[in-house]
Every structure is written in C-alpha cells, then in structure tokens.
C-alpha cells in the first residue's frame, strides 16, 4: 500500500473544509437575513443541488466552468494557472460537493436560535455585525461544528466530481476513493481492502465524534424561564 493517497485525501479534505465552512456559513447567514421567503427557498434549492445530483454532474459543470476553455479556466489561464487535473482541483471538487451539507447545517443552526435574542440585541443597540459574532454564531456553535465535521467527512470521501475534474494522477490528484477504484480495477484487492478499512474507520470516528459532541452540548444554554 502507498501512503500518498491517504495524505492527499487528508490534505484535500482539510483545505476544502476551510473554504466550505466559510462559504457555507456566510451563505447561510446571508440567506437567513434575507426578508424574501421566495429568495430564501430559491437559494436553498440551488445550494442543495450538489447534494442530490450525481457528483459526476457537478464535476461536469466544474469542467465546463474551470476547463481550459471555460470562463474561469480562461481567467486562470491568463495568470498562468491550469486548474484541471491538478491537486487544487481535488479541493475544488470536495468544496463544491460538501458545501450543501455545511450550508444546510448552518441554516438549520441559525434558524433554531430563538429570534427573541436577536430582537433583544437590536433593541439594546447592538450592530448586526456584533449580533452575528457574539450571539448568532456562538448560539449556533454546535450546529456549525457538526455541519463542519459532516462536510469534512463528505470531502474525504469525494469521488465522482474529483474524478471528472482532477483525474487520477498518482501522487497529485489520486485521493483515497480514487485509489480504491484504481486498485479494484487493477485487480489489487489487498490494497483496496486496506484503503477501504482506513476510510471506514476515519469516517466512523468523525461521525461518531459529532454524536458525542452534540449530545454533550444539549441543554447547555437552555433557559429555565422558557419552560
């Protein structure tokens, strides 16, 4: 077994979660703040698409946009960057595919914050920025964290879109899921077993972590007076 795919996968998922977390949380915040119910549901639908479409479809769109002749591909080309079939492409694929999980978790987390706290904060004169940083985000911390862990795990297991846009270049874009595919196709079942076991164990630990974490957070801030 070669360790490189494990390292590439961890590196990809770790970098991707930074983008996913910031973009997903920011989008969820903006959508929550929007006053139009129609706009909110339209954004929800669009941002959930990568979750329900086959990852190959997402990969296909990424190729259209970031391929050498795509609009972003051309822009990147002008500054001398070729994204497709490179390691950053694995980050792009993992970010896009994991985004819906982060976005939806953050949306749900923000929605469950009692609006009365936000209203109280406004009447005592706190600016919206302070309300977000000191109140909304801390009160949503458990939802945001479990969303991030879920998104990280999803990024770790990303296959379809990665194969489409990043390819299968050993030592560059061969992540663990792709290495498993290659191993099975090449008849190297022992190698495939090893990757599979590692992936299952790592993913299990993360998802288990969410459960332990969210159990321990429950009731932390619940007010007596609400009952």
């Amino acid at each position: 077994m070669v360790l490189t795919p494990i390292l590439i996968s961890l590196k990809t998922a770790s970098v991707a979660i930074l983008f996913t977390f910031v973009i997903g949380t920011a989008l969820a915040y903006l959508v929550c703040k929007s006053r139009s119910a129609k706009l909110r549901s339209a954004c929800d639908a669009i941002l959930t698409l990568p979750l329900v479409l086959p990852p190959t479809v997402a990969g296909f769109f990424l190729l259209l946009l970031f391929g050498i002749n795509g609009p972003f591909g051309v822009l990147l080309g002008e500054i001398g960057v070729k994204l497709v079939f490179s390691w950053p492409a694995t980050v792009l694929a993992a970010t896009v595919i994991a985004l819906p999980l982060m976005y939806r978790s953050a949306r749900a987390a923000f929605d469950q914050v009692d609006p009365i706290y936000i209203q109280a904060a406004r009447t005592i004169g706190l600016p919206e920025r302070v309300i977000a940083l000191r109140l909304l985000f801390p009160l949503s911390a458990s939802g945001l964290t479990s969303g991030a862990i879920l998104a990280f795990s999803r990024g770790l297991g990303e296959f379809g879109a990665t194969a489409m846009i990043a390819g299968n270049i050993a030592g560059v874009s061969r992540t663990m899921p792709i290495a498993i595919y290659s191993a099975v196709m090449g008849g190297r079942m022992d190698e495939a077993y090893q990757y599979v076991i590692i992936l299952v164990v790592v993913s299990f630990l993360f998802v288990w972590g969410i459960s332990i974490f969210s159990e321990s957070r429950q009731d932390k801030y619940r007010l007596k007076a609400r009952g």
């Binding site: 009365i116 209203q119 009447t123 004169g125 801030y221 609400r226």
Partner: protein, 366 residues
Amino acid sequence: MSLSVEIRKKYKGFTLDVSFRTEEGETLALLGASGSGKSITLKCIAGLLTPDEGRITVGDRVLFDSAAKIDMKPQARRVGYLFQNYALFPNMTVRQNIEIAWRPGQAPMGRGAAAGNTADRGAAAGNTADRGAAVDALLERFQLAAQALQYPVQLSGGQQQRAALARIYASNPEVLLLDEPFSALDSFLRENMQVELKHDIKGYDGDVVLVTHSRDEAYRIAERLVILDGGAVVAEGPLAGIFADPVTAQAARITGCKNISHIEKTGGTRFFAEDWGIELDAGREILPEHGYAGIRAHDFFVCGEGEGFPVSIDETVKGPFETSVLLRTPGQRAGDAPIWWIVPRGFDPFGTERLSVSPEKILLLR
C-alpha cells in the same frame, strides 16, 4: 420626552389601529385581552415590526413616519424592551450581558448616586475602565453583584428580570417598554416582583409603557391607562378615572366589571336592565348614547323588603379570601348570564333575599 404613537397595521382578519401618547416621565399601561394587539403595538414602537402606516415619535425624534418614509432601525431608536422571558443572552454571564449593551459616551441613567457619577466620566472618556465602573454600578443597583459571573440559566426568575432591566439601563433608552413582565413568574412571586419593578422603574427618567392583560398589574404600576380591544383603543385616560368611569362597555369589562347589561330607559333617571330583568335608578340623567349599564361585583349590598330587587342564589365559588356568588332574579330570561356578587370569606350569602346597589355605583356605559 413624551412618546406619541399613531399606527395602523393590517393582518388577515385583524386590524390594529391605535393612537395614544404619554406625558413626560409617566408610566402608561396598555391593558387588553390576548389578541387585542397590545404586543404588536409594543413591537412596532421598538421597531421589531413595521406598521403599514402612521407615525411614532419620542419628543421631537421621529422613529417612524410612513408619510415621510422614515423607519428607524431598532438599534437607533433608543427604546428599551423588556421581553416576557427577559431574553438574556444565554451564552454570556450576567456581567457580559450588561457590558455588551453599554457603549462609550453612554452611561446608565437613573438617580443612583454611583450611576450618576459614572455617567459624567463615561461621557467624557468612554473607555473600558469607565465601562467596568458603570457595569459595577448597575450590578450593585440591581443587587446582582453576587451573580455577576453566573449564566442566565443559573438565575431565579426575579434575578433574570433584574439582569434584563440592568442591561436595558446600560443601553440608556429614552422609552422603556415592558411586555407582560410577570407572565413568566409563579403567581406567589408575582406580587413581590410588581413591587420590585415599580421600585426599579421609579429611578428611570424616561417614559414607561407596560403591556398587560391584568387589571391589577396595570393598577399597581401605571398612572395612565389605555385599554385595547380588537386592535382599537376603547378608553384612554388617568388610571383612577377609567376604573371609576370606564365610559364604554368594553372598557368596563376589561377593567374587571363582571356585570354588564343592555338597558332600556324607562324615564328620567330610571332604566330597565334587560340582562338582569330588573329596573334600577341611576340617580342621574340617562343619555341616549347610554346603551349599557355595569355594576361591579363588590358593589351590591343586602337590603330589606321594599328596597332593591329579589334574588336567588344559583351557585357559590369559594376563593381564599372572597366568595363569588352567582345570582338570578325572577325577571331574568332563560339564557341570561347570572349576576356576580363578591362577598368576604366569612360572610354567609345563603338566606339573602334582596340586594341593592347605590345609584352612584351604577356605571352608565356606551
């Protein structure tokens, strides 16, 4: 700084159309049943809801004016809002809750000597040290020094209310809105808290608007009363005046008058109360607009033959200090509601054959 409100807001099957104003430094109670629109009114003043049209001003500051397209953000209104469940930020200690509301150049208002001193220094410098001193003064004033580092979940209902008030004072509002402040408390705590709140808002220089469905609460805390029913103001005026003469049948009912009857003038000062089946003398001219009469349940007294009217006892409901007696008269129709009579606990109402009421206790209502 007097608050003037004149707003309209339409909902499905409900229209809010209220206008009232407070005199400077006065405590006003908005009294009404649930669904009368009192909480919506309060939220419109604070800027948490937007009226369809109208105007809200504090002194010469315009908070909202639909004609001039002014709709100030809640942050800029300087309207403090005490929520029903106090809405203390659960992720912050009592101290942090108060600290975050305090801003440089502002300081807690009120008569407390310590608070007054910090006000001057806060306005001059407005730095962190001043904030600390101002918060200390507030914690002291609201007897929360021992709870400063505790989280809201650890506080009793009364402490939560004081912390919420301290937080509002730190934000230095010109108007203080109290939204059913006692509804989250157990009934035995409620009266203590009413006294405490009355004491706490005494030192407050701005106007206070209390929203409540309890006439007792309104009576204990406010000086002026606005009665809301179905989204409209049905009575407005000094508290004692409205309780003595509610003017309308709705206002009489909301101020706790149990007996209200449709009336028919029978001549001069006399009228026939259709729902009670009796004829009474109001002792004063009955005007054409007087369609109803009201008698408070405490105002009947037992009398002998030749006075008053005959009654029979239907039922009695015993309370801890008083007994409610439900009565009928021979003249009442089958569907008419019983007449309520409230007597002291030790009094035995059985055997009572005739009751009377002094003419001046009869409320003539529109």
